[in-house]
């Protein structure tokens, strides 16, 4: 109601001009973006920790959520054909932390235009779970965990060079005497399976 009242108080001419300009700007943005020739941003990935505060000697459960743009796919961690480049999660080594197990989701078998047989691929949203071990003598403090999700994406007609999505998350190590705050992050999804 308030918005309608405010709109009515603006002269008709000005309203019309503003509306025309908005439509014009939207059209121009679409034209310019359409003209740009650049590699599409196919995968967006995020690293989440089950708890951001841990004790030395404990396990940190991590989850990588990757959103794959509609119309594209990336290869299963265990690709169907030996020449396909697998999706791979890698962590940058950091003193005090070690990577335990990594569990990749099961891919979806798709019959693609360029293959006689179905290929196991990832599409849409996937979650990869990992366990990170905090060394018993890791000094208390804030640490930045870094990694990357390596992938190679295709659609039905073309493929893009292998690339990676950067991952980063912060974790705080507190002494064993200090209590941990309640976990603020969601528990890992139950559809992740060990391969």
């Amino acid at each position: 109601m308030f918005f309608k009242t405010q709109i009515k108080s603006v002269p008709l001419v000005l309203r019309t001009v503003l509306a025309a300009n908005s439509a014009l700007m939207l059209t121009l943005v679409l034209v310019r973006q359409g003209s740009a020739q650049t590699q599409p941003n196919i995968v967006q990935a995020h690293l989440t920790l089950a708890t951001p505060i841990v004790h030395p000697g404990s396990l940190v459960r991590a989850s990588v959520t990757a959103d794959i743009a509609t119309g594209y796919h990336i290869n299963d961690h265990h690709p169907s054909l030996d020449y396909l480049i697998p999706t791979d999660l890698k962590f940058t080594p950091i003193d005090g932390f070690a990577v335990g197990s990594i569990a990749y989701p099961k891919g979806k078998v798709e019959k693609l235009a360029f293959s006689d047989t179905g290929l196991s691929v990832y599409e849409g949203r996937i979650e990869i779970s990992a366990q990170l071990k905090v060394a018993p003598r890791t000094p208390p403090g804030e640490y930045t965990l870094r990694g990357k999700l390596e992938y190679q994406a295709c659609n039905d007609h073309a493929c893009f060079p292998p690339t990676s999505a950067p991952l980063v998350a912060k974790v705080k190590v507190v002494s064993r005497k200090a209590s941990l705050l309640p976990a603020r992050f969601a528990v890992l999804g139950t559809d992740a399976t060990m391969r």
């Binding site: 008709l12 001419v13 019309t16 001009v17 025309a20 300009n21 014009l24 700007m25 121009l28 034209v31 310019r32 973006q33 003209s35 740009a36 020739q37 650049t38 590699q39 941003n41 054909l81 020449y83 396909l84 480049i85 693609l112 235009a113 360029f114 293959s115 290929l119 190679q152 295709c154 039905d156 007609h157 073309a158 493929c159 893009f160 060079p161 292998p162």
Partner: protein
């Protein structure tokens, strides 16, 4: 509202739209969509020459095939759609090679060994070179997706660019038209047999530039640094979150940062010439 007021309103809206379109095209759209200057007049740009070593150690130069129709295929062994096309290219080479046609494959693999194995396994009958460490992909406008295929006529001009895998029969139609021309002559009545990509090429000075895609050879060292500083202060509009210089370096195939950098170079050189 009276009829006169309605007419005035319409005229104002039209004037705003036209004015907005003019200004936006002049300062925003045109730098992105402007065609590259061509080596000489004509609709089709000259195919940039390159000289490399093929996967068996032999020298391969595009200039050696002047007067022939050349199909230049950017591909990789890890690319499923690319692998599907290659038997079709082998057939085209077999059928049209005696008439002056040549396929050249440019592999974007990191290592040559899988390419050599693939070459033998598939019985490839045309030349293949590695493109990863060379500037060939940048010379040809930055290759984003694979496969990307160019058709070059007997006059050394690029007549078609096809992004993505297609039925290779499409190329047969185009090859026949290009072969009908005499060596060194332009093709007549060439029509793409399907959807085509925008053909953009770079000069060697642009491909080898410290600012990829922009010819800065006329700038002194001091001027180059000032120019690069200016690019570092301008954000790229392609959505990469980099400044223009970073985007040029990280993604030389980005058409947005390329045009922004070229536009900035023009302004920089004009400002310098007034000093």
């Amino acid at each position: 509202m009276s009829k006169q007021n309605k007419i005035i309103l319409v005229l104002i809206v039209v004037a705003v739209v036209i004015g907005g379109l003019y200004l936006a095209n002049r300062y925003w759209i045109a730098p992105v969509t402007a065609a590259r200057p061509q080596a000489s007049s004509g609709k089709y740009p000259a195919a940039p020459d390159f000289s490399v070593t093929d996967i068996f150690g032999q020298k391969l130069s595009l200039a050696d095939y002047r007067g022939k129709v050349v199909l230049l295929d950017f591909w990789a062994t890890w690319c499923g759609p690319c692998r599907v096309e290659i038997p079709g290219f082998i057939q085209l080479q077999r059928e049209y090679g005696p008439q002056g046609f040549q396929v050249i494959g440019i592999s974007m693999d990191d290592d040559v060994q899988p390419v050599r194995e693939f070459y033998k396994q598939f019985g490839m009958n045309y030349r293949v070179a590695m493109g990863g460490d060379t500037k060939i992909s940048e010379l040809y406008g930055g290759i984003i997706g694979l496969p990307t295929t160019f058709l070059i006529g007997r006059d050394g001009r690029i007549y078609d660019k096809v992004p993505g895998a297609v039925d290779t029969e499409r190329f047969a139609t185009e090859i026949k038209t290009l072969l009908a021309a005499s060596p060194g002559q332009a093709a007549k009545n060439f029509q793409p047999a399907g959807a085509s990509g925008n053909i953009e090429v770079e000069t060697p000075a642009e491909a080898n530039s410290p600012v990829p895609g922009v010819d800065v050879s006329k700038l002194s060292k001091v001027e180059l640094q000032r120019y690069k500083d200016q690019l570092s202060k301008q954000n790229c509009d392609c959505g990469c979150k980099f400044n223009v210089l970073q985007c040029r370096t990280n993604d030389p195939s980005c058409g947005v940062s390329r045009e922004l950098a070229k536009s900035q170079l023009e302004k920089f050189q004009k400002a310098n010439s007034r000093i």
